[in-house]
Symmetry: C2
Subunit: 459 residues, 2 copies
């Protein structure tokens, strides 16, 4: 590819330090915004044009919200920040010695400071062939794909009832009992029981099963045990079957196999979703520095990899230890790390030593379907909240953090409408109208049905 | 394929006539709703799960509205109608003698009455290879694809400015000067001039060109000449270059060629959109009855093809003549035809003769960008409206016709926000991040840029 070295446009002759930020998530965007009033030139590079409010992605996946409710173009967010420019491109290489990143388009960008905040992706633990069968939830595209599969499963079951009087089990299998898995399982159960009940004539959506599989001894393993137990009880009340100690050994079209204490379990699955493994973005590898087993860059108290004070690694891509524990890959530390970059660069510009980063943990929360949640609150008071109060706190915090005033109002309106009327217009199936495994199931189903009725299936 | 003849489920033994409606657009949905209080069993078959309010599709394409603002699941619309069921499937064959339709899933549906309302699709006049290069606008998927291309063109131009100080012409070429073409051209010009001005640092979106090509002597050929002239003048004021008498002879990746009176025109095009030809849905062919040259089924005064009183063909798929003119393929006649089906079946059930269909034309309107439109009003008074009054009428009528109260409010809120703040959150680029022809343009551009600056491009 061509590279126009010597004619780069990202360094107008201002003489100011050039900060290149890679990744427009919580960490990268907070870093960019924090630098607004420092005499630096910021270039934010992201391969997508939008920032995504990831904690609400599952609501897009389950057709409560529209993509535009929780995502916004990065350049719109930074439009009033004159020292920042946005570049939709992908970083393919980092030349640490020359302080230069190469881009997929073939060009290169010089930097004085490099901020890497490209986050994490799904890990299938070496079984990448499972990915098309069991999509994970990290991007708007993922959310739309999951929505497509869930809604399509209901449509196909209805069609099979009308056309052949029989449909394969309408099972939804969620693999992984962390916050995302719990939120997905709770929300699918809500959709099946509340919203879909009115729309289908032949299937009874209440007969669909939602299964949550986790390899460990309890779901929400990062939460205190009493909240784990409460979450499991709430899910069970919603009709979700929680299987802990279930190690998934195989994923196929229309089925999942898991190893449990009581033997091997084979579950027919109309839709399988993946919320189990997390792997750091591959960008960390380009630095040539020590990584942990998930590919996260091990950083020091100033968020630098060893010996590279001009490079900062933030958010899910960073392995940062505090008080002997690794800080988790969630929104709060990512945002705080982003904020901290500006403090460190301000110190540099004044010739002062950089302050050390310290993660201030306000707590964690996870919703469990409609109007229930668990919250491990650590600030401004300590509490283990459950049920409706936890959910109300979750609602308040999330509306507050959504970027953009209009979005906040619009999301609130959508929620109120959904919660009080059980109806919603975002249940659109777009794109491909087939489901992996459904063809096989359909043929099996047809044979089974014809054997029952005594009529013959002609292939 | 298997076919479970003899075990069909769409005919519960009610003894009531079975009405199969194919297509859930204006015509099909109005037919279904009209039959709500008649003693018939309705099955509506559509290959998509949602009804789309087509007149506002261009606003989804240009990122003003979200898909969920203008589309709704068909089964949600019909959820309170006990005599109607919805089937997401595709009709692949019609056995007129046996009164049976075959479905893509392999099953068959018996009918006593068949209503065909599958509408129309794009025609590339035998040049189907142009389709990926110049998408048309008929579905939500089309709209999202057009949005992706238009927004991506701005992103790529910005990137090229940053990376190489040069970008190929940011031309948007709309082929076809009917209402859709005029609306797309006006809306792109709006986006470029108003909304994008604030978001980009390097390209000047105002330097982008919007070209509207039409083969005929004037745009909006179906409207009175004074409104055509007004629309052309309004478009020109918005900066749109209108080329009438321009026959497109070739479409390539990144360019369009047209034959005009003053010779051949070759236009570089970052994005090319197709709003020229319309072809009836292929379903008409399955009937084995006379079609017109666009594939529409020629129907009589009762909307039947010759000799088939149990089959009704509605909307864009029907060729219906009134007072020596063919009724146009737009929303109003489709809705009225849908309504008329119920009147005819009610007559059948009472043993009376069917009333003849008569199209009552209230007029036509087309918007031209923000706050301007032309309207050929025929009812309740006759008038040629232009500019803001026409646009305000358009707004009122469209909000009124949008199905679903929440959607109406939400759309109104989106519009007000967009029109008064010039900002909007729906500008998301999802899916593939490449543009046809851009690679070629990029390489040409890079060479041109390096020749200008004297630096060398290394391949």
């Amino acid at each position: 590819m061509a590279a126009l070295t010597g004619s780069l446009q990202n360094a107008p002759p201002t003489g100011r330090p050039r900060v290149v930020i890679v990744g427009g998530g919580f960490a990268g965007l907070n870093a960019a915004k924090g630098l607004a009033h420092l005499p630096v030139d910021v270039t934010l590079v992201d391969r997508s044009n939008h920032y995504t409010f990831q904690p609400l992605l599952y609501q897009v996946a389950l057709a409560v919200l529209s993509p535009a409710d929780i995502a916004q173009p990065i350049r719109t967010i930074l439009r009033h920040q004159p020292n920042a420019q946005v570049l939709m491109d992908q970083v393919t290489g980092i030349n640490v010695a020359a302080r230069q990143v190469s881009l997929a388009s073939g060009a290169r960008l010089d930097y004085d400071y490099l901020v890497l905040a490209t986050g994490a992706t799904h890990s299938y633990f070496g079984n990448d062939q499972w990915e098309p069968l069991a999509p994970g939830l990290k991007t708007i595209e993922d959310a739309v794909e999951i929505r497509r599969r869930v809604l399509l499963a209901f449509e196909l079951a209805e069609r099979q009832m009308v056309e052949q009087g029989w449909h394969p089990p309408l099972n939804f299998v969620v693999i992984g009992g962390g916050p995302t898995g719990v939120e997905l399982a709770g929300a699918i159960s809500d959709i099946a029981q509340l919203y879909m009940r009115h729309d289908f004539r032949h299937i009874d959506p209440a007969t669909s099963r939602v299964l949550l599989l986790d390899g460990g001894p309890r779901i929400l393993a990062a939460y205190p045990p009493d909240l784990s137990a409460n979450a499991e009880a709430t899910l069970k009340r919603l009709g979700v079957e929680v299987h802990t100690g279930a190690q998934v050994t195989a994923v196929g079209p229309g089925w999942v196999q898991a190893h449990t204490q009581s033997g091997d379990l084979r579950i027919e699955a109309a839709v399988t979703l993946w919320a189990a493994g997390v792997l750091a973005s591959p960008l960390g590898k380009l630095l040539g520095v020590p990584l942990d087993r998930r590919g996260c860059v091990i950083v020091d108290g100033q968020l630098n990899p060893p010996g590279q004070p001009e490079i900062f690694v933030l958010g899910d891509l960073a392995h940062f230890e505090q008080d002997g524990h690794q800080v988790p890959g969630v929104a709060q530390p990512a945002m705080q790390m982003g904020d901290h970059v500006a403090k460190m660069l301000a110190a540099d510009l004044r010739g002062k030593p950089r302050p050390a980063f310290r993660y201030f943990d306000k707590g964690d929360m996870a919703t469990i379907g409609r109007m229930a949640a668990v919250a491990d609150v650590k600030w401004p008071f300590k509490a283990h909240m459950k049920g409706f109060p936890a959910w109300f706190t979750w609602l308040t915090v999330h509306i507050f953090f959504l970027i953009g005033f209009r979005n906040r109002l619009s999301v609130l309106a959508s929620w109120m409408w959904t919660y009080f009327t059980f109806t919603r217009g975002a249940r659109l199936i777009t794109g491909d109208q087939t489901l992996p495994g459904w063809k096989e199931q359909t043929e099996v189903g047809r044979q089974a049905a014809s054997e029952e009725t005594g009529s013959k299936a002609i292939k």
